[in-house]
């Protein structure tokens, strides 16, 4: 860990001012990702701007019937909030599938969106990594890539985004509220994270000096027919090999609205509008769900060790959609998957 300066932001405007004034500065919220990376010398901020005490901890109803969740709401408060449990249980389920109780108590909503990949080379400064050091090369492409992406990869990087929460948010069509030097803006969560392309060192479309202030959930919560399935190497406290967030609205047995997003397979939560369109108006059957899986996995490209993810994702998509369709009760605290 290298030495750094530290200041506590007085308000959002102050945070933006500090960020702009000190190139090399970083915001710190829960610190559960940033501090780990600093200990490994992967992140070397010259300045830490502590935003953890800013008043961004509210969960409020929006005028159109959605919810606005402050960027500093702890992951656990988010998941256990009565309105989330009632109206957006998919989000609660996804959050509770992540990390551990202690981490979720510390982790903020903004930090969760901004958490960086778990690619082992990214974490090891003794190995080349384009994401850590732009242009140094990607060690994973010809190296150990069992945990890596199968969709949206580039010749420069095949890393995945590790967030569970984002997968559910992507499926529900959430928005990210941002404040910056030139004012406030809102972007769709699906446009927030980027694909690696030639610039894998840039994870998101957040600009210099910008800060996430809140996320917003649209009114539609899919509270009845939803499922978050996380497939991982142990039953808790592990990142997803593949995860699926599925949400359906049904009229009889016919699907009137469908949402599916994948985690653990790409540099961002992976959604396919074709897949969802193809499901609309169809019956909730394995056959139609398999068809949706085809759309979602179109163009999947495996590396040496992650070929299994293609088949695993296919099966997981079908399974999750079936669970959503039959409103399978779900608890992330049970010692089994569902």
């Amino acid at each position: 860990m290298i030495n750094f300066q530290y200041s506590r932001a007085a308000d959002v405007a102050d945070a933006i001012l500090l960020l702009t004034a000190h190139p090399g500065a970083k915001l710190i919220a829960g610190g559960t990702n940033l501090i780990d990376l600093m200990k490994e010398n992967v992140e070397q901020p010259s300045w830490l701007i502590d935003i953890s005490r800013l008043p961004l901890r509210k969960i409020e109803e929006t005028a159109d019937g959605g919810l606005r969740i402050g960027a500093l709401v702890p992951n656990s408060d988010f998941a256990y909030h009565p309105l989330i449990e009632q109206r957006y249980p998919l989000v609660a389920s996804a959050i509770l599938a992540g990390a551990s109780a202690q981490l979720r108590n510390m982790a903020s909503v903004g930090g969760n969106l901004m958490q960086r990949t778990r690619c082992a080379y990214f974490y090891d400064t003794a190995t080349p990594c384009n994401k850590r050091t732009h242009g140094s090369g990607c060690s994973a492409i010809d190296g150990l890539n069992r945990n890596h992406a199968i969709l949206g990869t580039s010749a420069a990087c095949i890393a995945t985004n590790p967030s569970d929460m984002s997968v559910a948010l992507a499926a529900l069509g959430a928005f990210v509220h941002i404040a910056g030097p030139s004012g406030e803006r809102t972007i769709a969560l699906t446009d927030f994270h980027r694909l690696p392309g030639d610039t894998p060192h840039i994870d998101t479309n957040l600009d210099t000096g910008e800060i996430i202030t809140a996320i917003e959930l649209p009114p539609r919560g899919f509270a009845h027919n939803y499922s978050y399935l996380k497939v991982r190497d142990r039953l808790s406290y592990a990142f997803a090999l593949v995860s699926v967030a599925a949400a359906l609205e049904l009229e009889g047995n016919a699907i009137s609205e469908a949402r599916v997003a994948l985690g653990g397979v790409a540099h961002k939560p992976w959604r396919s509008f074709e897949a969802e369109a193809a499901l609309r108006g169809q019956a909730a059957t394995v056959e139609h769900f398999s068809h949706a899986a085809d759309f979602l996995l179109q163009g999947a490209r495996a590396s040496a060790h992650n070929g299994f993810k293609v088949e695993l994702a296919r099966r997981a998509i079908v399974r999750t959609l079936m669970q959503a369709a039959s409103a399978t009760p779900q608890s992330q605290a049970h010692k089994k998957i569902a």
Partner: protein
């Protein structure tokens, strides 16, 4: 009298541990303590061309940076570096000795600063240039063709190759067990306290204070009274603390260089540069008659070792104890690679070797259409075949029977993929476990004071297994005192001798040392009591006297008794102090082993391959169990670890860099609570009058042996897929 031995006595140090009163090596503090942070090599092989510490030294608070070129003297002779547990072949690693890089993660400098954070920061400023040797190799499988044969576990019997070739039923396969790291909860740490004039008190995380003491005296060229080593509590070690680890050299070097107290705590990541269970290819060949009688057993283990030491354990020889066969051949090969030397890790050798053997037995049972237990009973060996000796005791048949009954084995449908529970395939598997019942010379000193309290002193470590507790139990019973009146002091190099704590030998060894010293105290008390005026014990033969309820009493008639305190007052004794070194009688007429039968139920999600181990029954025969509570905990811990070995644990290396890529416990998976379901531990009655006075064999290692195989066999039974490459991750079931 056995008020405590054999009962579920709670840990005598439990309260100290949960309240934080128990201090570990990295928690001792003295005035002026400074902190060292280790700089590690980032290449696997080569030389240090340049090591520039000037930037680091400029940081305020940095006191010094020790390197091979800048440090107090270290012994040149290889022998000085050979500790009690060092392999016979090779020369041990010498930290900061010279510019040669032998493995990735090798310590190459120690930054010492007034604050730990400062040292850690300054460590990033140490500039290293290497002269890399690109001919390095770190992969077992590609090195297999240049493996070197080392000592065999047993001599061959008959013609195993011929018998295997001619057998009616043959099973032959490779099983792969990956490199695994111990990951004890406590980080490796040393606090070296500068006592002035070159004298040091060293608090170290170790399984053997005397081993570290001798080692330090050798490598630092010190007289025995100039160094004292203590390790009062150890937060798990599992074998990783058997040999002195490099942090103890670095901390003591730092203290000698700076003439002040230095603490070095390794990071979790750095601990992956210490020892590990070596990756091993276990080749097993079994030849049988159609009825299951074995004709041939061949087992060849090929394991990783370093370039500088040949580490080898008995992986391949365990069928010799378990399964009758006229022909057998066991061998061990090592592949020398550019990695650090492996070290013992819970049930070294057996955990991997028996895993392969027991998977192979399962495969043979399937091929022969025999129940796996039936096959094992068919081949059951009542003698250790290598020496043709009977066992001091062997209740393995009873383990099979009790375990099977508790598990409900008789309801098993033998066909693979025949049982299911909703979306999950259900599989039942079993395996045998075996370990040695070892015992070593240990000495203790007991001091009995006139107020009826006793203190027991011994250099042995308690690595979390419960040595404090069993020593107190045995002493309380032997002295006839309540356990609250016994205090136990362990793990100090100035105390009576004990070997390193390992191999499951400490319970039996320390217990009998306590019995020996207590016996001398009993003799003395008997003499006093019988000499007292108008004593109810007047003239009694010392052999007739027992110590019970704080009294010296007649064995036949407990009411004929004298309080211990009275006898001591009469003798004008403030204290009775007895020191005893216990040697076990040499007895080559019997083989000594512990055994187990492990049964596992797995549920495998048919579509996704997710595996859950929903039930484990482990039936253990290990002689008399001194403490059923700590004993059960040992076995449960072993089972949990076995689940990890079967499904999770694997140290992953990128062989292009020769670097471990999952050197942290977020990515190096061990089971978490959600992975653990029912674990049922059964201690089978095993009376053993041969092995030692108490009939104790020791627990610990036996808990893990067989567990991974039982799970792998259950996975096969559930899915019809035989996974021979551990850990069994879900991707292996999908393809």
């Amino acid at each position: 009298m056995n008020a405590y031995v054999g009962t579920a006595t709670s840990r005598v140090d439990g309260r100290a541990k949960v309240t934080g009163a128990a201090k570990y090596a990295g928690e001792f503090t003295v005035d002026g303590l400074v902190h060292g942070f280790v700089v590690e090599a980032t290449i696997p092989r080569g030389r240090i061309a340049r090591l520039d510490t000037s930037e680091a030294l400029k940081v305020t608070g940095v006191l010094d940076v020790l390197t091979h070129a800048h440090r107090p003297p270290l012994a040149d002779k290889v022998e000085a570096w050979k500790d009690e547990v060092a392999p016979d072949e090779g020369s041990p690693f010498r930290p900061l000795y010279d510019d040669i890089i032998k493995f990735n993660g090798q310590p190459i400098a120690l930054v010492v600063a007034t604050e730990w954070e400062t040292a850690k920061f300054a460590a990033t400023l140490v500039r290293v240039e290497y002269q890399e040797d690109h001919t390095f190799a770190t992969e077992l499988e590609t090195g297999r063709n240049r493996a070197t044969e080392v000592k065999r576990p047993h001599e061959p019997r008959g013609d195993a190759a011929g018998a295997l070739a001619g057998a009616a039923m043959r099973h032959e396969a490779d099983y792969f067990v990956p490199t695994e790291h111990h990951n004890p909860m406590e980080l490796f740490a040393t606090t070296a306290v500068w006592d002035g004039n070159g004298r040091l008190t060293v608090y170290d995380k170790t399984q053997g204070v005397l081993n570290v003491h001798r080692y330090l005296c050798g490598v630092l060229d010190k007289q025995p009274d100039e160094i004292r080593v203590l390790s009062p509590y150890v937060g798990g070690a599992f074998g990783s603390g058997l040999r002195p680890q490099y942090q103890v050299v670095l901390a003591t070097l730092g203290a000698l260089a700076l003439k002040r107290s230095v603490r070095v705590v390794l990071t979790r990541q750095q601990m992956y540069g210490l020892g590990y269970r070596p990756a091993t290819i276990e080749h097993v060949g079994l030849g049988a008659k159609p009825d299951g009688a074995l004709e041939a057993v061949m087992h060849e283990a090929t394991a990783v070792t370093s370039r500088y030491e040949d580490f080898a354990r008995n992986d391949s020889g365990w069928a010799e104890q378990l399964y009758k066969s006229r022909n057998s051949h066991y061998s061990h090969k090592v592949v020398r690679l550019d990695v650090s030397t492996p070290c013992d890790m819970r049930a070294p050798g057996a955990a991997s070797g028996v895993c392969a053997l027991e998977c192979a037995m399962d495969e043979l049972a399937v091929a022969l259409k025999l129940d796996p237990i039936e096959l094992r009973l068919k081949c059951y060996s009542d003698r250790d075949q290598s020496e043709d000796l009977p066992y001091t005791s062997k209740q393995l048949r009873e383990c099979y029977a009790r375990g099977a009954e508790a598990f409900g084995w008789s309801k098993r449908n033998p066909a693979a993929r025949s049982m299911r529970d909703d979306k999950e395939l259900v599989g039942w598997g079993m395996a045998t476990g075996v370990w040695e019942a070892l015992q070593m010379p240990v000495a203790v000193r007991i001091v009995l004071t006139a107020n009826g309290h006793a203190e027991v002193f011994c250099a042995a470590s308690d690595i979390g297994t419960g040595t404090y507790t069993i020593v107190a139990q045995v002493a309380a019973d032997a002295l006839g005192l309540p356990i609250e009146n016994i205090s136990v002091k362990l793990a100090d190099s100035t105390l009576p001798q004990a070997p390193v704590e390992g191999g499951s030998w400490m319970a039996a060894s320390s217990a009998h040392a306590v019995l020996g010293a207590a016996e001398d105290i009993r003799q003395e008390l008997a003499r006093l009591a019988s000499a007292m005026p108008s004593s109810p014990l007047a003239g009694i033969d010392a052999a007739e006297v027992i110590l019970v309820d704080g009294t010296i009493a007649s064995n036949g008639e407990k009411s004929r008794a004298v309080p211990i305190t009275d006898a001591m007052r009469y003798g004008k004794l403030e204290r009775i102090e007895k020191h005893k070194l216990n040697h076990f009688a040499e007895d080559k007429s019997h083989a000594r082993n512990t055994h187990s039968a492990v049964f596992a139920e797995v549920k495998v999600d048919e579509q996704l391959g997710v595996i859950r181990v929903t039930r484990v029954v482990s039936a253990v025969a290990a002689g008399r169990i001194l403490n059923t509570k700590t004993g059960r905990s040992q076995i449960m811990g072993g089972v949990v670890w076995g689940i990890g070995m079967a499904l999770h644990e694997e140290t992953v290396m990128d062989h292009r860099f020769g670097r471990i890529m999952n050197a942290n416990i977020a990515e190096y998976h061990i089971p978490v609570n959600a992975d653990i379901h029912d674990i049922d531990v059964i201690f089978v009655d095993e009376r053993d009058d041969h092995i030692n006075r108490l009939g104790v064999k020791g627990l610990g290692e036996i808990g893990i042996v067989g567990v991974p195989a039982a799970i792998a066999n259950a996975v096969y039974h559930a899915t019809g897929k035989r996974i021979r490459r551990f850990p069994i991750t879900l991707d292996k079931l999908l393809t």
